[in-house]
Symmetry: C2
Subunit: 599 residues, 2 copies
């Protein structure tokens, strides 16, 4: 554990404030890049760092917010990325010495990744990798990704920071009315960024401290990670053509204790703040003791860019739509062949309307490029829908393409107990922050006995943990064979689910429909078997949501197994109560006013 | 154990043959009652007994076939019952000495019990009680009820023999084409008579030995009790106004070993046989070693007069129709008030058409005579339908009336763990040969925890065994409360079922519909909960069969839990295969030619 993280665990740290206003006051001409101006004015930069250090800052931010190749290209200076970032880190380090930590600042590229924007995952990762490596080389104590307004871009930056440095990484988004520009909530951000390996998450900039209280409370509810907050000095106001922030040092200081009480571990300030603000904040602490939440474990959480869904013993059973799968459906195979995304989106939407809370995406058509289709499918479906995706693919190269494009926390379907599978799939789950379904089969096939399936599940969970994948991110599928060939064997699956739940305590999921393969009235068998599996503790089911009996069974079993206290979900499904639907946030259609970093 | 039964266990005994032909040859005038002729010709009777004894008979039958009050009334001699039976037993005993056992013969009254005939249960029991008591007083070693063609009458005679003597009781019906006159199969007879306490069951008279081979094989399949067979000397033929039996002693003798091999323990002969037949049969034994079936346990078996249905781990789950219950249905309450049996029969038939294999009969309408209605309901429904009845009544006096009228093996619904209930209901189950549902509640109500319900179930099973009720005749209902008030509690019932199955090994049944009381879409919850309960090992469910989803769930769960090997039942229910329906035997409409005892 780095010294920075170790310190954070025992002491709430005070960050610094804005650099832009200070630079302008000290001679930066309007319209000039602060980063390009720096090399010729190192003492001015150090003076600002020094002022914050003296005001009480324990974290000094490098002057590198726009020091990435894309931003610097606007000044025809993209070749200077490495030099500038090393320089900026060194300047900050010279001032900070051992008295403060240096945050290697990384801001957004100004472009959204595809499909919202025009930039590819690979390009984004390359751009951020170049910057973070230089910051590390220059001596930054941690990488601080800040003021991101799109989770997809933040995720790419975080990936670069984790893959190309060994520094801790803080990741901070900016919020208006509780969402980022492209619809992400603090809960979603916490789930996705933690899965990707963030060491510290939080919010900065935004509309000032007042609104971020709620945001930070939501973060604290969603993660055990250390949190950070660096609000603007109030709402930006445009007065006489200039952006003005009106909150005084005294008023900013009033929020320090509330943030600490909420469990924030690094408190600083953003646009409009000065060393006076930091000084007032420094004096406002009643204690530096971190307020940690009482120990919690979380269920398995999946996320799209806009929604978190959970799988676990205390959650409603998760219905995962199985219908985007060309294996048994010719129209789907044909749609992939023609890349008919409107049809596939429609297929997806219909499943969600019927109650699916996540969608399985299988693009495996013989002869077609699975990696290309998976990446395309992920892009299209995540744009069209709010529900998280399950990437149904066992070829590592293809799967990786899909995972790169997925801007949430995906569920991989699947790894199994074979060495080849474990060694290729688990590293991808770790790198791309995905949960993973583990099938209880191995080199010898699907064992008949529940105990043998448990043993494979145990191995998968152990191996996943060796890859630093959290236990709650392993979801076991005990597999069911068709009841047509050996009827009683289906109960072995039910028993396996029960054993896996009891002994391993991990979440379980099951592809249900196979049980009725080759038999008439499949809906009867699917729903009855689903009830049996849910009774044994099954947490999620990959099913056909258009078969209404299946959804009715899920709602009924949820109630009967105590997962629906107050019968709220059941009453909604049975039409007795109107659903409380969270409004769909269309990316780009709401929160239209970005709080752009204007330092 | 009596000396007779003890002997039977180790040695196949040879019975005797006909008395009628012998009496005629020795002077009995045509048209005269053999029993009334006897007191004045004791030496003739003894001579016949002696002839059989010398031929090898080890069981000598008293000359009392028609010596009951109803038969003797035809000769205005019903006051002589006691005297004649005592006398006949003594005569047989004098000959038999210690060389043979004396069978106290009881034949049918010649009248069917209501509703097929005109005679009441009480009258029948009184008539047979008088006869069997006298036979016992005269020294018979066991009571031998023979040549009964109606199970209801045999059941009344058996009841009288068990209640009014302490002798072993053998019970033998007469068959044509595998059924008695009123539609009973050997399997049904075995189940009902064994439940009523018969010590020995079998067939006599009928069409001769050939057809009885199959009948005895069916008996042996259905019971572990000792078996008896006493066939006529062939098919009765009417030649020149006389009934003639053509099988020679040599031919009759050929069947001795086949019967022994089938597991028959007492082999004799009926109409048309003579001491020569017995002598030939005596010489035909290769061995006297009884052939016992390998040890078997049976599932819980219920029976109407014409059908056996089973409940148990290896059986298809039994769907019991719940709809004849006035508690929540005004039309049913009104039908009972008006004794509108056509409507109630229709309600019953609709449930059977929908797949119910047994029907619950609850007649509890406040202000009406429950005993009267239960007796009437039993009479009407058992006449209209083939499926066994579940008598849903907890008031012992009323229940007893229903049990008396029921000519099969009923299922009592119910006893519970309260002392008052155990002490009043269990003796009725024993006396009337019924299985009994034990509810897991007691003085303190329904316990919350599965373990506590198991404890009550354990107590009920133990107490039933103290009352000499077989373990397989106790069926536990673990009870479910509505999920509306405390959702998760339903799983406690599922757990209780599992515990009861595992620890006690008894059959289980459940009134399912209560789980959805007060909730919308009850069918969803009922069928889902049913699946959960069936998964835990539930053997039967009291449900609304007109809710097709329930029946579909039963068929599906049967397949999935391995109770439907080959999916035969599932394919029938799903319409893929035509059902193999056993033809409905209308009592009185088939097997019209009774093989009347014409000795
Ligand atoms: Zn800002
Ligand atoms: Zn006969
Ligand atoms: Zn006879």
């Amino acid at each position: 554990m780095s010294n920075f993280i170790r310190t954070l665990k025992t002491k709430v740290l005070l960050g610094d404030g804005a650099m832009g206003t200070m630079l302008a006051a000290l001679g930066l001409p309007p319209g000039q890049s602060p980063e390009l101006w720096m090399p010729e004015h190192p003492e001015t930069i150090k003076k600002i760092h020094q002022a914050y250090l003296e005001a009480g800052s324990e974290v000094i931010q490098t002057n590198t917010f726009g020091a990435n190749a894309i931003k610097l290209k606007e000044y025809h200076a993209s070749s200077l990325v490495r030099e500038i970032n090393i320089k900026a880190a060194k300047l900050a380090k010279e001032v900070a010495g051992t008295k403060a930590f240096v945050a290697g600042i990384v801001g957004p590229s100004g472009h959204f990744p595809a499909p919202l924007g025009d930039i590819s995952w690979t390009e984004l990762v390359e751009v951020f990798a170049e910057q973070v490596q230089a910051l590390a080389e220059g001596g930054a104590d941690f990488i601080f990704l800040e003021t991101f307004s799109d989770l997809g871009e933040a995720r790419a930056a975080l990936y670069a920071a984790k893959q190309y440095t060994s520094l801790p990484v803080a990741c901070s988004l900016t919020y208006t009315k509780g969402r980022t520009l492209t619809g992400t909530t603090p809960e979603v951000a916490a789930v996705v960024l933690e899965a990707m390996g963030a060491d510290l998450v939080g919010a900065n900039c935004s509309t000032g401290p007042e609104e971020l209280l709620e945001v930070m409370a939501a973060y604290r509810k969603a993660t055990n990670l250390p949190l950070l907050v660096e609000p603007n000095a109030g709402m930006p106001e445009f007065i006489a053509g200039k952006t003005v922030y009106k909150l005084s040092p005294e008023i900013m200081a009033r929020y320090v204790e509330p943030f600490r009480q909420l469990g924030v571990n690094l408190i600083g300030a953003c646009c409009g703040s000065t060393p006076e603000h930091i000084k007032a904040m420094s004096q406002a602490f009643v204690s530096r003791e971190p307020v940690w939440p009482s120990p919690r474990t979380f269920p398995t959480r999946l996320a799209s860019r806009t929604q978190v869904v959970s799988l676990g013993t205390s959650e409603l059973p998760l219905m995962i739509g199985e219908r985007i799968n060309p294996t048994a459906r010719k129209t789907i195979a044909e749609a992939f062949r023609q890349e008919n995304w409107p049809l596939l989106n429609e297929e997806a939407r219909n499943q969600v309307k019927a109650g699916a809370l996540a969608l399985d995406l299988n693009v495996g058509v013989p002869g077609l490029d699975e990696g290309h289709l998976l990446a395309q499918g992920v892009q299209h479906l995540q744009l069209a829908l709010d529900v998280p995706l399950v990437l149904d693919c066992t070829r590592p190269e293809a799967l990786e393409k899909g995972l790169q494009e997925y801007q949430g926390k995906a569920l991989i379907n699947s790894v199994n107990g074979e060495e080849g599978s474990l060694n290729s799939i688990l590293p991808l789950a770790r790198k791309y922050g995905a949960a993973v379904i583990g099938l209880t089969l191995d080199e010898r096939g699907i064992p008949e006995k529940a105990e043998e399936r448990l043993a494979i599940a145990e191995k998968i969970v152990r191996r996943a943990q060796e890859y630093d994948i959290a236990k709650e991110d392993v979801v076991i599928d005990c597999l069911v064979l068709t009841a047509a060939t050996s009827p009683g064997i289906a109960m072995e699956t039910v028993r396996a689910i029960q054993l896996v739940k009891e002994r391993l305590g991990v979440s379980t999921v099951l592809g249900v429909s196979n049980v009725s393969h080759g038999l008439p009235q499949r809906s009867w068998l699917n729903s009855t078997f689903l009830a049996l599996a849910l009774g044994a503790g099954l947490d999620g089911a990959i099913v056909n949501p258009l078969d209404t009996r299946v959804g009715e069974t899920v709602a009924s079993a949820a109630l009967l197994t105590g997962r629906d206290p107050g019968a709220q979900n059941y009453l909604v499904r049975s039409g007795k109560t109107a659903p409380i639907v969270e409004e769909r946030k269309d990316p780009g259609s709401t929160n239209k006013e970005p709080s752009l970093e204007t330092l």
